[in-house]
Structure formats: structure tokens, C-alpha cells
């Protein structure tokens, strides 16, 4: 279980903290979504949860990040990497750039951890299997499409077998095809019991895979609850976050005079 306890984080040189007094819990097997306008602190939240802030990113942190009840402050970055894997928006910068094949790219993490070679190989094949990209094993990672590259990046994390996956707008830089590819894969992971924290602007994706959603605005949590409730709330559009298509269609129909009943059933 990943817990953030009243975490505030201020980047070095910044006047105000990027997130203030944020508390949240990610249970084992839970998929938690985070929405909010730009500059709300979603990326900072991901960096703090994964341990990159303040280890790799200089800044001041208040509050605690706990993994299964234990404070993570003393854990070095490579130990955090094995517990909470983080994936970013841009597939190209997550590919190490030194691996000639997708297989080696996914094996990169376990290799860094110094595991036994057989273990590295098993983990890599497992990750390829789970993501359904075994066919890409011999390909050059730099020659893949955006969606495929993002899957390889996620595969590289899965090979570390972290207890939690943290995804910071994983489909932001992808075309619709890539978004669909990654979305389907995340849905499979979620159905398989993975523990995922995902920030996204594409609320359709969150609606599909998240059990709970948290709304972040100006560094603080302003709403939290079951996905359907939070994403259908009226104030979301005012913040600049588009509601899921289903919600927008329902509102449009309601505005045109079509009430509940048969149409709602059809939408569900």
C-alpha cells in the first residue's frame, strides 16, 4: 500500500509549493485516477509518489511517503524504483537509447539491479507477455510508433516488478491509435489486479479503468470519490477538465429535452 501523508513539495527556487498537504492512499490492486487543470501539481504528485522527488529533483518536501507502513525517506532511488515504477508522457525520452532491441530495453531495469541473468530473462519475457508485445522483442525500440514505444517503456517498469505503477499522462503525446493501444493494455493490467496511480486529461480512459478518482487543483485535493461521481460533477468543466464522453452526451441530451429512462439505459 502506497500512502502519501500530508505531503507538500516545493521545487528548488520556487516561491510556492507545487502541492500542499496532499494525502492519499493507493491500495493493493486499486486503480486511482488523478485529474486537474494544468499546473495543478499532477506531475509533482507522481514524482513524489515514485521517490524521484526529492531524490532526483531538488526541492523541499514536508510530510511522508509510506510503503506498506514504512517511511521511504531512507530508501535510495534504485530501491524505490523496484517498489514504485513511474512512466512519463514522452515515450522517446524514456527509451534508454543504448539498447538495440526491445528485449534488451525491457531488461535494462533488472540488469541495473544486478539480478541473476536467468531472473532478468524471465522477468523480461513476463513483461512482454503481459503487455502483448512479444512480437516486438527483436525490434529496434527507436523505430517503433509512439504507442508501441510507450508500451515498451511500461514494460521496462513491469520487469522491475514494482508493487505500484505510477503513470503521468501516459497517452498525452500519443495519437488516437497509440492512445487506444496503451488504454487497452492498461485496462488489462487493471483487470489483472495491478496497483496503478494514473493522471490523465483523457477522462474517458480514467472512467474505464479507475475505481476512484481524485481532483487536484492548485496543488490541493478538492474532490475525491468513486469515479462515476467525481467525473460527473458539475465543477469539473469550469476547471478545464473535460468530462468523459458518456457524461457529456447525457448532459447534451438532457439539455435537448431528453430525460432519463430508456436513453440512460442505452448509454449504459
Amino acid at each position: 500500500m502506497l500512502v502519501l501523508e500530508a505531503v507538500s513539495y516545493r521545487y528548488a527556487g520556487a516561491e510556492r509549493p507545487a502541492i500542499r498537504q496532499v494525502s492519499l492512499t493507493l491500495d493493493k490492486g486499486e486503480v486511482l485516477g488523478v485529474v486537474g487543470p494544468s499546473e495543478a501539481g499532477k506531475t509533482t504528485l507522481c514524482l513524489v509518489a515514485s521517490g524521484l522527488a526529492p531524490r532526483a529533483i531538488r526541492g523541499a518536501m514536508d510530510g511522508r511517503v509510506l510503503l506498506d507502513g514504512a517511511d521511504t525517506t531512507a530508501l535510495p532511488m534504485h530501491e524505490m524504483a523496484a517498489r514504485a515504477g513511474i512512466c512519463f508522457q514522452h515515450p522517446q525520452t524514456q527509451i534508454s537509447g543504448i539498447c538495440g532491441t526491445v528485449f534488451e530495453e525491457i531488461a535494462f531495469g533488472p540488469m541495473n539491479l544486478g539480478l541473476q541473468r536467468d531472473d532478468v530473462v524471465v522477468r523480461t519475457w513476463d513483461a512482454l507477455d503481459v503487455l502483448g508485445i512479444t512480437a516486438l522483442a527483436e525490434r529496434d525500440p527507436m523505430q517503433l510508433s509512439g504507442g508501441q514505444m510507450q508500451l515498451v517503456a511500461i514494460g521496462g517498469l513491469l520487469a522491475l516488478r514494482p508493487a505500484h505503477l505510477i503513470l503521468d499522462e501516459p497517452t498525452a503525446q500519443l495519437d488516437p491509435g497509440g492512445t487506444r493501444l496503451v488504454g487497452e493494455c492498461l485496462a488489462r493490467l487493471a483487470a489483472g489486479g495491478a496497483s496503478i496511480l494514473i493522471t490523465e486529461q483523457k477522462t474517458d480512459l480514467l472512467e474505464r479503468i479507475c475505481g476512484r478518482v481524485v481532483v487536484l487543483e492548485k496543488g490541493g485535493i478538492v474532490a475525491a470519490g468513486p469515479t462515476d461521481e467525481v467525473l460527473a460533477a458539475a465543477g469539473l468543466a469550469a476547471m478545464g477538465v473535460a468530462a468523459p464522453s458518456r457524461v457529456r452526451v447525457r448532459r447534451a441530451l438532457a439539455g435537448a429535452g431528453f430525460g432519463d429512462g430508456a436513453i440512460m439505459d442505452a448509454l449504459h
Binding site: 532511488m77 512519463f88 531488461a107 540488469m111 541495473n112 522491475l160
Partner: protein, 225 residues
């Protein structure tokens, strides 16, 4: 003359032929050596002091036989050196070299830098193409006079470099997120084979150098000319 030519034959030409790269080696080596080879030839041929047997007179300069001998000797040495470098370059795959170095104890960080440097070039070329297209869409002149095109370099080179630098933070975070900062050696999936014969050959090569130095200073090699 005997020395450099023997060296060329045994240490460069024969291994190149065995590796199947002889033609490429001769071509590349010749091209590389051409400028310095020609200047060395001409300088030594025509300006050798104290040469007695005259071969050719061209105005104020004279070509002598001693000059020709020295010129050919220098040329042979140049070819031996450039041939050896070219042979190394043609028969070594960077990825294999780096993996082997890492296996023998080079830090994974250095190995990463070595590998990444090779990969950076194609990535930068791709980025530069995209930037050129973007700037042309904004009116950059890429077909005008040399002066105009030279001025156009700044709006291309600037973004290429800035883009690469801006990426560094993202790349660093991605590497750390995959445990790159763990101290110590990392597991290697494979390494190039190192047979007993290769090891013997390596040691022979290493020992040949001091042996030749000793022979040289003892004067044994002077008999060969």
C-alpha cells in the same frame, strides 16, 4: 623500408583479408592517407638535404634518389598507421566493444556514455530534419546564396542543441526510475566470445612491442635496412 612494409603485410593486410574487409580497408586507408601521403612524398622527394644522385630537375627543386627512398619509407609508415586504425574501426562493433569493456570492469556509467554517444548522432539528425522543416515553414531560406544559408544555420543549430539539453532532465529521471543509480556492476545479458587463441594472439601482440624496442636499440634491426 623493410620494417614498415613487413608490418603492413603481417599486421594489417593479412588480418584484413582474413576478416574479409581488405577491399574496404585499402579504399578507406588510401583516402585517409592521401593528403598527408602526398605532402610527405613531395617534401621528402624534392627537399631532402644532401642527396647526391639526381633523378629529376624541376626549376629550383631537385628530386634525388635518397629523397625518394626516404619518401617511400615515410609513406609506408603512414600507410601502416592508417591501415591499423582503419582495420580496428572496420572489424569492431561499438556495442560489442562496450559490453566487453563493461564485463572487464568499466563503470556502467562510462559504458552508457560510450553507447549513447553512438546513438546520439542519428537522433540528432532526425531532430535537425524536423527543425529544418519547421523553420522552412516559417520562411527560412535554405536554397539561397551561401551567405544566406550560413545565416540560416543559427535558427537550426540553436533549437537542436536547446532541445537536446532540455531532454536531459527527462532522460535522467527515466534512467533513475529504472535503477540506473545503483552502485556497482550490473548484470550483462551477453558478451562477445573470447577464445583461447584470441587471448594468446593478444598477449603475443603486447609482448612484441617491447621486444621490437629492445631489438631496435640493440641495433639488430639495422641489418634489415
Amino acid at each position: 623500408m623493410v620494417g614498415p612494409i613487413t608490418l603492413l603485410a603481417t599486421a594489417v593486410v593479412l588480418p584484413a583479408a582474413a576478416a574479409g574487409v581488405l577491399r574496404r580497408l585499402l579504399r578507406t586507408s588510401m583516402v585517409l592517407s592521401l593528403p598527408i601521403g602526398i605532402s610527405a612524398l613531395l617534401v621528402n622527394l624534392f627537399f631532402f638535404p644532401g642527396g647526391s644522385e639526381v633523378l629529376l630537375r624541376l626549376g629550383p627543386v631537385t628530386a634525388t634518389r635518397e629523397g625518394l627512398e626516404l619518401a617511400l619509407q615515410v609513406l609506408a609508415r603512414i600507410l601502416a598507421i592508417s591501415g591499423a586504425i582503419t582495420l580496428f574501426y572496420l572489424t569492431t562493433r561499438p556495442a560489442e566493444l562496450v559490453v566487453d569493456l563493461e564485463r572487464r570492469g568499466v563503470s556502467p556509467r562510462l559504458a552508457f556514455v560510450a553507447n549513447a554517444s553512438v546513438q546520439t548522432v542519428p537522433a540528432m539528425v532526425d531532430r535537425a530534419s524536423a527543425i529544418i522543416a519547421a523553420q522552412r515553414a516559417r520562411g527560412l531560406d535554405t536554397e539561397g546564396s551561401i551567405a544566406q544559408r550560413a545565416r540560416g544555420l543559427v535558427p537550426i543549430v540553436g533549437p537542436v542543441i536547446m532541445g537536446s539539453i532540455a531532454e536531459v532532465e527527462q532522460r535522467t529521471m527515466a534512467l533513475e526510475a529504472r535503477g540506473f543509480t545503483r552502485p556497482g556492476r550490473r548484470t550483462l545479458l551477453w558478451h562477445p566470445a573470447d577464445t583461447g587463441a584470441e587471448r594468446v594472439a593478444r598477449w603475443l601482440l603486447v609482448l612484441t612491442v617491447p621486444a621490437l624496442l629492445v631489438a631496435r636499440s640493440a641495433g639488430w634491426l639495422d641489418l634489415l635496412g
